[in-house]
């Protein structure tokens, strides 16, 4: 008997076959008890996975949250708030024209006057007129300083 064509069981165990075999080749035959060939099942599964991935790539997705975009978003929001605080029209940093950028930045960085000056304005009024303070007290906002009132309105 030609040992190359019909290896004996002992040779098959001791000496591997010279022909390389895929691991799938062992699944070439129907699994005992299964009515479908395994290769067909794996092929269908691969096709399904491919379709799912293709569809998912075409769907709109949430942007990945990484530190850099999050910081950028926070900075944009801060600048937007500061611009609003400076009582200038709120604009995105992406739409502000270059020649307006200097003014916008200057407005956000402008130092507001000493708060005590504003409180003194209210004190001068209270000492000389006194009516509004009494009215405010009756409305329950007597302790609210002028600076806070101005800030809230802004």
């Amino acid at each position: 008997m030609d040992p190359g064509t019909e290896p004996s069981r002992s040779r098959d165990v001791l000496w591997p076959s010279p022909r390389p075999q895929s691991i799938l080749s062992r699944l070439e035959f129907p699994v005992p008890g299964s009515p479908f060939p395994v290769r067909l099942v794996l092929g269908i599964a691969a096709l399904v996975i491919f379709v799912v991935l293709a569809v998912r790539d075409r769907m709109p997705q949430e942007p990945a949250v990484t530190p850099a975009p999050a910081a950028s978003d926070s900075a944009a929001r801060t600048i937007r708030d500061l611009v609003r605080y400076a009582r200038t029209p709120a604009r995105s940093v992406l739409t502000v024209q270059p020649h307006e950028m200097v003014d916008v930045i200057r407005a956000t960085r402008r130092v507001r006057p000493d708060r005590r000056f504003l409180l003194a304005v209210a004190d001068v009024h209270g000492l000389l007129i006194g009516a509004e303070r009494a009215a405010a007290r009756s409305r329950g906002v007597a302790r609210q300083p002028l600076g806070d009132r101005v800030r809230r309105r802004a």
């Binding site: 006057p113 000056f117 304005v121 001068v124 000389l128």
Partner: protein
């Protein structure tokens, strides 16, 4: 308040009554000018009392309380001024009120920005006194500018005071003449306070020595300690917390005695 035409436009109240405007970085003088204009406008709507004949009410007492560097006496004097102002609206009350409030502002060690209302009231009173009386509270203005942190303006204003004024000596760093003024038997309390404040800049030993020179200051101990707090690092200085605890003990005792005698 809003930024308009390169200036801060200040408005007041729900009706947004125009107060005036301030430059981009306003100085204390800018604020004074705006407040004086605002006060003159308001006084047209409700004039102050024109009946200013007779003795100036409370002025001497308030002045002595403010000069004594005693915070409790100053507060009591201010309470009386407030009552009289409500009744009479006598403009002559404005000057002693400004002096008393500025003295209180000088005593404050405000590292948490909690005394803004006191500074503002002192500033308002000072401006009203300048606007509606012939008296010019120059010393008060200098001390108030210093207490509010406008040191350059305080230095400039101090140059207008007489040469032998301890406040001017203090701002000109003429320490030897300041100490000689403070050592006089009839020295002004403010001269001693400023001398102690200057001594504190030289270290704890110098401060304690200067402070003990004029001790005991009944009821004024905390004011003297404030000078130490303003110049020393509290957490690095072991002598100051001890002195503070002792002074607070004395002050509490004094306050309890005052309450007992008052009741």
């Amino acid at each position: 308040m809003e930024w308009r035409d390169n200036r801060w436009a200040i408005e007041y109240g729900d009706a947004r009554e125009s107060v005036g405007s301030l430059p981009d970085l306003p100085s204390l003088a800018d604020a004074r000018a705006m407040l004086a204009q605002w006060a003159a406008t308001l006084a047209k709507a409700r004039p102050l009392s024109a009946d200013i004949t007779g003795q100036v009410p409370l002025a001497a007492r308030v002045r002595s309380a403010a000069d004594s560097l005693s915070a409790p006496s100053t507060i009591r004097a201010l309470t009386e001024i407030d009552e009289q102002w409500r009744r009479s609206r006598d403009p002559r009350l404005l000057t002693p009120a400004a002096e008393a409030l500025s003295a209180l502002a000088l005593y404050v060690e405000d590292r948490a920005d909690m005394a803004d209302a006191l500074y503002a009231r002192a500033l308002a009173s000072s401006v009203l006194a300048r606007t509606f009386t012939s008296e010019s509270p120059r010393r008060t203005d200098v001390l108030l500018a210093h207490a509010m942190g406008y040191y350059g303006e305080a230095d400039d204003s101090a140059r207008a005071l007489p040469l032998d004024d301890p406040i001017r000596r203090f701002f000109e760093h003429a320490d030897s003449s300041l100490v000689s003024l403070a050592r006089r038997d009839n020295a002004e309390p403010i001269a001693r306070y400023l001398a102690i404040t200057r001594a504190a800049e030289g270290g704890t030993a110098a401060w304690l020595s200067a402070r003990s020179m004029w001790a005991p200051w009944r009821g004024q101990t905390t004011v003297a300690l404030r000078s130490g707090l303003s110049a020393r690092d509290f957490d690095l200085d072991q002598a100051l917390p001890t002195a503070l605890a002792t002074a607070l003990q004395q002050l509490t005792k004094w306050a309890n005695q005052g309450n007992a005698s008052g009741s």
